[in-house]
């Protein structure tokens, strides 16, 4: 049980895997670059489809993995490949020799300001899904004026399925997130008109379709099929959104008090950096390349290196947790094989 297991990333995948490994009798090491655990989920308010509070999920994960060795504010400085193990040098000066490396480096949120035409960071009333979750959590955002929320728009696929944003893949969770956030906003501002501008709606998960029907029927959220082409700012500071209503084949224009951009998932540059240090391959979508995208998604082509969660591509929370559990089991069996 002396085996060192290094988990790179203290998001939900890292924490879940650590918790499972602790249960299996190991004492994994979690390396987290930021000052808190829980990754992106820790910044979120509620999770679809049951609106369970994200902080409950994260705090239970943190509690279950508390016994692990956790290094916060720590990055990996370099990785040396030894004969059958890795020497990992951390930014805090500690070096670890390990035969097992679990990459749970996750994703980065697409930088919405790269879609210049949407004016994120330029127009006053444009925010991202993450900003909105922040507002749900803290109630603090000057873009949301409680007394003047008559019309709100959500733009789906910001930086997803977009060659121009150099991110051609679907980020998977934004459709349902947009619907979730639209419902939450509508609950807070029942008189506001809420629009969702979408290209496709991918309601693939459990209860997602019910969620969608709720949004339509019970909350009257208007779905407009068409990608927003450009956003302008009005003289009174509201944003004017232009799109094509592709179902009627006509351009459509609407003035909104708030525009929420559903920034997608892109590969985490830090994940790529560590991958390069450990000579791990990168897939064509920029995420880490698994041994096999069907059968061995949690295994890298290199022995002893495992993946879990969104470092291999966009994932939902339950998928990430499932992968983390699978990876823990795989690591356990791998160590047994070594002995």
């Amino acid at each position: 049980m002396k085996e060192n297991i290094v988990i790179v990333g203290g998001g939900i995948a890292g924490l879940e895997a650590a918790a499972q490994l602790l249960d299996l009798g190991y004492k994994p090491i979690i390396i987290e670059k930021s000052d808190h655990l829980g990754g992106h989920v820790a910044d979120w308010n509620c999770l679809f489809p049951d609106m369970s509070p994200a902080k409950d999920v994260v705090s239970s994960l943190i509690a279950r993995s508390a016994e692990a060795n956790i290094f916060l504010n720590t990055e990996i400085s370099f990785v040396n490949k030894l004969k059958d193990s890795y020497n990992i040098m951390l930014s805090n000066g500690i070096s670890i020799i390990t035969r097992i490396l679990l990459m749970t480096t996750g994703f980065s949120l697409f930088d919405a300001s790269k879609k210049e035409e949407y004016g994120y960071g330029i127009y006053d009333q444009v925010m991202t899904n993450k900003d909105l979750e922040h507002w749900f959590n803290t109630g603090d955002d000057k873009r949301i004026n409680n007394s003047a929320m008559n019309a709100v728009g959500f733009v789906h696929c910001v930086g997803s399925r977009d060659e121009k944003a150099r991110n051609p893949q679907c980020s998977k969770v934004c459709c349902i997130t947009a619907i979730k956030q639209a419902i939450e906003l509508k609950q807070k501002f029942p008189d506001a008109m809420v629009y969702c501008f979408y290209m496709d709606l991918r309601m693939f998960g459990k209860k997602y379709e019910d969620f969608y029907i709720n949004a339509q029927r019970d909350y009257g959220i208007r779905f407009i099929r068409g990608r927003v082409s450009e956003v302008g700012e009005n003289i009174d500071g509201r944003v004017i959104v232009k799109a094509e209503d592709t179902l009627s084949g006509k351009p459509v224009k609407v003035t909104l008090d708030l525009l929420v951009l559903m920034a997608g998932m892109v590969c985490n540059p830090d994940s790529t950096k560590v991958a390069n240090m450990a000579s791990l391959p990168i897939d064509s979508d920029g995420f880490l390349k698994s041994r096999d995208n069907v059968a061995d998604i949690i295994e890298s082509p290199k022995d002893g290196v495992f993946y879990a969660g969104a470092c291999t591509g966009p994932k939902t929370v339950p998928e990430t947790l499932a992968e983390a559990r699978a990876a823990a089991l795989k690591i356990y069996l791998y160590i047994k094989g070594l002995e």
């Binding site: 709606l201 339509q216 029927r217 099929r225 179902l247 006509k250 351009p251 459509v252 224009k253």
Partner: protein
């Protein structure tokens, strides 16, 4: 002065200016009207489609976009046969919806 050309009205739909009063009235009677996800099953099965271009999915959309005249024109040849209701994957009672539209909207709108 006549230049032989004029400013042509914009074909764009300005959602700020669409008057949805009647649609809201329709929605009160037919809450399911919001459930349409524009799959087009109704239009493809509609016997009136080839005569007046009837498509209840387009009608629902056009009414929300303030294109009442277009919607009413499409409905001209609806036979109320109920095929659209039969095929609707979202279970919208399209027949009653059609009758409600005939009651709320008017034919000679601008």
């Amino acid at each position: 002065m006549d230049f032989g050309f004029r400013i042509s009205p914009s074909s764009a739909i300005n959602l700020d200016k669409v008057n949805l009063e009647k649609f809201e009235e329709l929605h009160r009677i037919e809450p399911d009207v919001y459930k349409c996800m524009a799959c087009g099953s109704c239009s493809s099965t509609c016997p009136a489609n080839r005569y007046s271009g009837m498509s209840i999915r387009k009608v629902i959309l056009a009414l929300q976009r303030g294109k009442e005249k277009e919607a009413v024109a499409m409905m001209r040849n609806c036979m109320l046969c109920g095929k659209c209701t039969m095929v609707c994957p979202r279970g919208i009672n399209t027949r009653h919806l059609i009758l409600s539209i005939c009651r709320i909207y008017e034919e000679d709108v601008k």
